[in-house]
Amino acid sequence: MKNRTYNGISAPYALWCVVFIVAPLAIVAYYAFTDKTGAFTWDNISGLSMYADTIARSVYFGIIATIICLIIAYPLAYCFAKTKVSTQKILVMLIMVPMWMNFLLRTYAIMVLFEDTGIINNILAAIGLPHIHIINTSGAVIFGMVYNYLPFMVLPLYTSMTKLDGKLIEAARDLGATGFQTLRDVMIPLTSAGIVSGITMVFVPSVSTFYISQKLGGGKYTLIGDVIEMQFQTAYNYNLGASISLLLMVFILFCLFVMNRFGDTEEGGVVA
């Protein structure tokens, strides 16, 4: 068949992309740079400075949650990869079950546990321990992020570790590397693809979440997602909401770009 025919076959999809992916983003940009009457303005962009604290908090929470996920998931994925293949299948399934449960319900479950009159405090009271305040703290929000997105970190790490040849680690130890040196110089470079994709899959939803902060932060810890949600669902300031979304998108795409560059050079380094 002619090349033109093949391009013709994918044309409906290409058209779909233009109308429902590219055009919406163009409209976001349009709203971000216009006011309610449709006139060009910088106001929405300069208005972002009002949200500097929120933005900083979102990025900070996102980074903390991602680091905790990485620290928990890396050894976990390693343990997974070292078990028998049949056990591995079961373990992977067990990690996927919570992932496929709706994240609203998962977050809600944590809320039920953490509340001041919630299950943890009830248990503590029952055994005579003092009451602890967990809900509506920054810790609770970060815990919610870690709890919700941990499987997204474990799976890519596990995949890259199953591809790792176990003999390489033995070889490193054989050549006199300590456990830490083996981890730093062999394991981490060889699993960099999994690390990069795990970080992406945890960081992006963490930074942009709004439900977790509402339920577990009690409105005290507003994140970028909350601000966007507010502008579109209650304040109806689409222009401001669009400018914040634009900022979030540019920031995320920039991070992904940097991460991918990092991932590439790591792999290139291994080959060289």
Binding site: N7, S10, V28, E115, I119, Y147, M249
Partner: protein
Amino acid sequence: MKKRLSVKAKVYMVLIFILLYAPIFVLIFYSFNSSNSTSVFAGFSTRWYGELFSDLKTMAAFKNTLVLAVLSSVISTVLGTIAATGLHYSRTKWYKSSVMTVTNIPMMNPDIVTGISMMLLFVFIGMMLKLSGVLGFTTMLIAHITFELPYVILNILPRFKSMDKYLTEAACDLGCTPVQAFFKVTLPYIKAEILAAFIMAFTLSLDDFVISYFVSGPEFQTLPIRIYSMTKRRVTPDMYALSAIIFVAVFILLLLTNIAQDEDFRERLKKRRERRSKTA
């Protein structure tokens, strides 16, 4: 060759799994509580399940979710399969690479940005056409197809790459028109990936909240949106019951797909079939 895991490692794995499952199991446990308190377990009851099933709005949302998931996943699988075929064979480099770049955008973009961008598009079109209340079933369907398509395409394209490029030529050589070759050779070759893509699209649609939340209208709600509005207000034990049901459903579905993908199992099935055909 593989060393057995140390006790420390096993304890670590068990702890993480307890952490992951504890909140869910606690909810399931209290879903059978006869009172709506989480402090006392007043006695076993299926009261909340009864309330859940008699809640018309939740039931309607459940039905909507299924309708939307089936429709959007069928459309996105068909459209995605056709697109992947065209893209694989395309020799126009700039076209191919720009379409692939755009395909990746919804996968990289935060859901909230995808959601509001589509909402703004629909609102914008509504404004142009002077329509009110554009958000509803159609916009939900379009949004779901849009975020499912990249997963479908990225699921199928790698399989094409592993296909012997002479297979379709061989079919044409034996007398197939290019269209016949597609249905008789290409499609059977990629059918497992198409099925996987379909299941993926279906579950993504069932599970999605963020994008749906922004493009939905008041008269068409899905289950996640219903959950959102329910959990916004007060402690609602019928949501515990819903969690329990979804948990069991997800568990069974994953178990089934695992069994279906299990090679030993498939091998045994194939052998049995071969034996049967031999005796026949």
